[in-house]
C-alpha cells in the first residue's frame, strides 16, 4: 500500500536555526495522523513544507505520490489545507470564497454548485454562507476554512491546529467533522495539535515532535503503554503500613509507595485493579478517598521531553472515583 505521506530525513533551517530536524514519518492512506507538540516545536513548519509553502533544506517529502519540492503543482491539486489561522477574506461571503476556490481548482460551474451543496451540509454552516465572513464566529470561520480546503475533494487534508482558540463546543463540533470526513470519505488527515485530548480523541497514530525532532510515534495507547503504569492514589490516614501490606497481594499491582497519608499503587491496568485494591484496603483501613490516575499523553510527553504539554481543558485525565469512608 502506497503511503499518503512519506517523509525522509526532513530538515528545515531558517537563518541557521533548525526548525525541523531529520524528521521521518509515514502516513497511510485513510489514516488520521496526529502531530503533537508544544508551540515552536516545528509542527507548522513541517506542515508548510508538506503543503508546498516551503521547500525543505534537506530531505524529501512525498505527498499523494508527488515530491513536494519537485512537483508542487501536482501536490497542490491533491491536498486540502486549513492553516493555523483561518485564512479567509472577511469582505467576501462564504459562498463567494468557496466559488473562487472552486474556480482556482479548475472546477466547472456545475461542479462548484454541486460541491457547495454538499459542503454546506458537511460543515453545517447553512444560511450563513451568504453572509460576509467578517460576521462569522470563530467556530464558523474554522468550519468555512475547512470547507474551503475540501472544495476540490482532496486526497490528503492538512489541519494545522484546527481547534486552537475555539471554545469547547466549537472544538467538539470540529472533532465530529474531522471524524466524519475520515470515516465517510476515507480521507487521509494530517492533524497538528498542541492539545492532548485532540490527539487522543482523533488520531489513529500520533507523532510527538519536540525541538524539531520526532521523539516518539505510535497509537495513543501504544505510547501510553510504552512509558508505564496507571496509579491508584488511596488516602488512608494513619493506616499506611497495613494498607501497603494488604494491597501488595492484589493481582496486577506492580508496586506500592507511601507518600504521607497516601498510598500510591502502580498497576498496568488501573481500571481493572481499582476494585480489588479498594476491597483489599477496606479490610484493613478506612479509605477516605480513592483516585485513579491513568497514563496520559502528557505523561508520555513529559517522559520523552522533560516538559509538560498543555491540556485543552482545565479538566484533566484524573478521575475522582468518589470512594469515601
Amino acid at each position: 500500500m502506497t503511503s499518503a505521506i512519506s517523509v525522509d530525513g526532513l530538515v528545515r533551517r531558517f537563518d541557521g536555526v533548525t526548525a525541523v530536524d531529520q524528521v521521518n514519518l509515514e502516513v497511510e492512506r485513510g489514516e488520521i495522523y496526529g502531530f503533537l507538540g508544544p508551540n515552536g516545536a516545528g509542527k507548522s513548519t513541517t506542515v508548510r513544507i508538506l503543503c508546498t509553502l516551503l521547500t525543505p533544506t534537506e530531505g524529501r517529502a512525498v505527498v499523494a505520490g508527488y515530491d513536494v519540492a519537485a512537483e508542487p503543482g501536482a501536490v497542490r491539486l491533491r491536498i486540502g489545507v486549513a492553516l493555523q489561522e483561518a485564512a479567509l477574506d472577511p469582505k467576501q461571503t462564504g459562498v463567494e470564497l468557496l466559488r473562487l476556490q472552486g474556480r482556482l481548482y479548475g472546477l466547472s460551474r456545475a461542479e462548484i454548485n454541486r460541491r457547495l451543496g454538499e459542503l454546506a451540509g458537511l460543515v453545517d454552516i447553512g444560511a450563513a454562507l451568504s453572509r460576509p465572513i467578517g460576521t462569522y464566529s470563530g467556530g464558523m470561520r474554522r468550519r468555512l476554512d475547512l470547507a474551503a480546503a475540501l472544495v476540490h475533494g482532496p486526497q490528503v487534508l492538512f489541519l494545522d491546529e484546527p481547534t486552537t482558540g475555539l471554545d469547547p463546543v466549537s472544538r467538539a463540533r470540529m472533532w465530529q467533522e474531522v471524524r466524519r470526513l475520515n470515516r465517510e470519505q476515507g480521507m487521509t488527515i494530517f492533524l497538528t495539535t498542541q492539545y492532548l485530548e485532540e490527539a487522543d480523541e482523533l488520531a489513529d497514530r500520533v507523532g510527538i515532535i519536540d525541538g524539531g525532532r520526532l521523539v516518539a510515534e505510535g497509537s495513543p495507547e501504544q505510547l501510553k503503554r510504552s512509558i508505564g503504569n496507571d496509579v491508584i492514589v488511596a488516602q488512608v490516614d494513619g493506616h499506611t503500613q497495613a494498607g501497603q501490606a494488604a494491597v501488595r497481594t492484589v493481582p496486577g499491582v506492580r508496586g506500592v509507595e507511601v507518600h504521607g497519608s497516601e498510598l500510591w499503587v502502580t498497576t498496568g491496568d488501573g481500571a481493572a485493579a481499582v476494585g480489588p485494591v479498594a476491597a483489599a484496603l477496606s479490610r484493613v483501613a478506612p479509605v477516605r478517598n480513592l483516585t485513579l490516575r491513568t497514563t496520559t499523553l502528557d505523561d508520555v510527553f513529559l517522559e520523552l521531553t522533560g516538559n509538560h504539554i498543555r491540556a485543552a481543558d482545565p479538566e484533566s485525565d484524573q478521575r475522582d472515583l468518589g470512594v469515601a469512608s
Binding site: C51, T52, L53, L54, T55, P72, G73, R76, L77, R78, I79, V81, L83, E85, A86, A87, L88, D89, P90, K91, Q92, E96, L100, Q101, R103, L104, Y105, G106, L107, E111, R114, R115, G117, E118, G121, L122, D124, P132, A148, H152, G153, P154, V169, A172, R173, Q176, R180, E184, Q185
Partner: protein
C-alpha cells in the same frame, strides 16, 4: 448545564470532482472578479480619490480661470485642468491595500496553496485596477464635458484619453504592489502615496511647462508625468498630435518598466518557498 447537539441529518455523500489547473485567463478573471466584487464594500478606497479630483478640478478652475484666460489668448483653463484632475483621481488607485491585508490575514497563503499561477494573482488585481480607474475617470470626464470642454480629437480621442489615463494608473500602481509584496505592511503601502507628490506637482499640473521657471522647469522636463499630461491635453485641446502621444506613451512605458520590475521581484520574493 447546556446540552450540546450535533447535526444528525444524513450528509450527502460527496461527489467525485477532479481538481485541475484552470486556464490562465480564468485565473486572472477569477482574481479580478473577486477584487471588483470588493469595491462596493470598500467605497472608502474609491470615494476619496474621486472627491479629491473633482474638488481640485472645480477649485482650480474657480481660482485660475480669470487670471489665465484673460492673460493667455485662447486658453481654456477647464480643458487644461482636466488631465490634472484625471491624474489626481487615478494615480495611486490600486488594490495593493487589499493585497497587503490578504498577506496579513493569511488569505494570500490560501491562494498560494491553490494551483493558481502566481503571476495571475498580480495580473488579476491589476486588471481590476484598470476597470476601477476607468470607472473613476468617466464622471470626471463627464463633469468636464458638462462644463463646456470639447474633446478636439473626437469620441475616439476620448476613448484614447481614458486608455492613456488607465495606462498611467496601472504603471504607477506597480509601486504600491511592490511595496505591499515586499513589506506586507499596510502603513508602508499607504505611505507610497507620498511618491505621488513629486510626480504630480513638480510638473505642468497648474500652468503650461513654458511658464515654469528655473529649477522647476528643469525638473518638469525629467518628470514623466509632464509628458503624460501633455499627451492627454493634446487629445483634449489640439486633436491627434502623434508626437505628444508618443512621448506620453513612452513616459508611461518607462515608469511601467521600473514599477513592474520592482513588482515582479517583490512577487518572486514573497512566493519564494526556499
Amino acid at each position: 448545564m447546556t446540552a450540546i447537539s450535533y447535526p444528525t441529518e444524513t450528509v450527502q455523500r460527496p461527489s467525485r470532482v477532479e481538481a485541475r489547473p484552470a486556464h490562465p485567463l480564468r485565473d486572472v478573471v477569477s482574481i479580478a472578479g473577486r477584487s471588483l466584487r470588493a469595491v462596493p464594500r470598500e467605497l472608502e478606497t474609491v470615494i476619496p480619490p474621486i472627491f479629491i479630483a473633482v474638488f481640485f478640478f472645480v477649485i482650480n478652475i474657480g481660482t485660475l480661470q480669470r487670471l489665465t484666460e484673460s492673460h493667455i489668448q485662447g486658453f481654456d483653463i477647464t480643458a487644461f485642468m482636466l488631465p490634472t484632475a484625471i491624474l489626481l483621481g487615478v494615480t495611486g488607485v490600486s488594490r495593493a491595500g487589499s493585497l497587503v491585508l490578504d498577506i496579513q490575514n493569511g488569505y494570500f497563503d490560501r491562494l498560494l496553496l491553490t494551483p493558481v499561477r502566481r503571476l495571475a494573482i498580480l495580473v488579476g488585481l491589476m486588471l481590476a485596477d484598470v476597470a476601477i480607474a476607468c470607472a473613476l475617470m468617466v464622471p470626471i470626464l463627464g463633469l468636464a464635458l458638462g462644463l463646456g470642454v470639447r474633446i478636439e480629437s473626437g469620441p475616439v480621442g476620448a476613448v484614447a484619453f481614458l486608455l492613456l489615463g488607465c495606462a498611467w494608473s496601472l504603471a504607477f500602481a506597480g509601486f504600491g504592489y511592490a511595496i505591499a509584496l515586499k513589506t506586507g505592511n499596510p502603513a508602508a503601502v499607504n505611505s507610497s502615496f507620498l511618491l505621488f507628490f513629486p510626480f504630480l506637482f513638480m510638473t505642468s499640473s497648474y500652468v503650461p511647462r513654458a511658464q515654469l521657471t528655473g529649477w522647476l522647469g528643469d525638473v518638469a522636463g525629467w518628470n514623466p508625468v509632464t509628458y503624460v499630461l501633455e499627451g492627454l491635453r493634446s487629445l483634449v485641446t489640439q486633436g491627434w498630435q502623434l508626437a505628444a502621444l508618443g512621448k506620453a506613451l513612452l513616459a508611461v512605458a518607462v515608469v511601467a518598466v521600473v514599477s513592474m520590475s520592482l513588482c515582479l521581484a517583490a512577487l518572486r520574493g514573497r512566493t519564494r518557498r526556499g
